[in-house]
């Protein structure tokens, strides 16, 4: 593995802004499946660029900028089939589960991780979405109820998928795996809590599913990312301190 970290080590959360060139590569890649050798080389070269950028900035634990992903949530649609773009008002920028998930490219995130590992001497981190988060964004009653009767059932089906991917990423030899769970954090907001019949139960579910994914996993540092939605210039989507989460942390 890599050298030990200094005091006050620095890292990123994961995603870096994508130049139009990278957005165009993503559009060509995931929607049309045109992963030919030239596309692959260009994408790899782009990731080398963002790796170099973080190194040059002086960051100790770096990511691949998530430049192979359209979104930090929809990456599940790279691992498994069953997702589709639909017209809807809430979360129009996420796909929706419309069929029972089947393996599409299990280990695809581990391959992202391998490239990162092989192209830097720094400590590296890789992110995965948490089941509760994916359930909130990608299960829509009108489209999903036929295949996963409840949102919870969909989340439970995600647990073994995400755990398998996490173990594969671990085996590549990354230093940190981060589970993204903004919804655990937005649940601190009284306005958000009011929209759930039992907000504490929601938090418990989010935490339990994460714990199921990471249970017994050794040989990698695990992290959970919490924030109040990132709407760029428009600010954030929820407000409140971390007190409500505390009772759920072990």
């Amino acid at each position: 593995m890599t050298n030990s970290l200094p005091l006050f080590s620095t890292t990123v959360i994961g995603s870096m802004p994508r130049p139009q060139y990278v957005k165009d590569l993503l559009r060509a890649g995931s929607r049309t499946g045109e992963h030919d050798a030239l596309w692959q080389r260009r994408t790899d070269d782009a990731v080398r660029f963002v790796i170099g950028m973080q190194e040059r900035a002086g960051i100790d634990i770096i990511s691949d900028g998530e430049w192979r992903r359209e979104s930090y949530v929809d990456v599940i649609g790279e691992i498994m089939t069953g997702f589709r773009w639909v017209q809807r008002d809430q979360f129009p920028y996420h796909q929706v589960v419309v069929e029972r998930m089947q393996p599409r490219r299990p280990g695809v995130v581990a391959e992202e991780a391998r490239f990162l590992r092989e192209n830097t001497d720094r400590h590296v981190k890789v992110c995965l979405p948490s089941p509760y988060l994916v359930g909130q964004r990608m299960w829509e009653p009108a489209y999903s109820q036929g295949v996963y009767t409840t949102r919870d059932e969909f989340c439970e089906a995600l647990v073994p998928v995400l755990r398998a991917e996490l173990l594969a990423i671990r085996d590549v030899g990354v230093d940190v795996i981060q589970l993204d769970e903004p919804h655990l954090c937005v649940l601190v907001d009284p306005k958000v809590r009011a929209t759930f019949a039992d907000p504490e139960a929601e938090m418990r579910k989010a935490v339990d599913w994460i714990n199921q994914i990471i249970s017994g996993v050794r040989g990698v540092t695990l992290a959970v990312h919490l924030c109040r939605r990132n709407w760029g210039r428009r600010g954030w989507g929820a407000a409140g301190g971390y007190e409500a989460i505390l009772s759920h942390i072990q």
Partner: protein, 104 residues
């Protein structure tokens, strides 16, 4: 990894309540707005946290990803400038608090 640079995140005193074995990814760099946090501003945020937790437990990071979705329109240059200042802040903090390597 906790965002803490925005006012909506609440008081840092809460960090004291986290279990001792947990490291804290301290969200000390804004990712949403065009103003570039200076190293001094970042150092100040971390120092607020140091009132509640030991230096060995802290890793510096931005509040969130710069572009969780590909269409997030934050300029790449802005992200790069913020990351450079984050690294400079960390250097400054090591000078202030001693640069012994953290237990890993």
């Amino acid at each position: 990894m906790l965002e803490l640079s925005i006012p909506a995140a609440g008081d840092m005193a809460i960090l004291r309540e986290l279990p001792e074995h947990m490291r804290i990814g301290l969200g000390c760099v804004d990712v949403r707005f065009p103003e570039i946090d200076t190293p001094e501003q970042i150092v100040e945020r971390v120092q607020k946290a140091l009132a509640h937790v030991a230096p060995e437990r802290i890793t510096l990071n931005p509040d969130c990803g710069f572009a969780p979705g590909k269409d997030h329109d934050i300029p790449l240059e802005e992200a790069y400038a913020k990351l450079k200042n984050e690294a400079l802040a960390a250097q400054r903090l090591r000078e202030l608090y001693g640069s012994r390597p953290s237990a890993s």
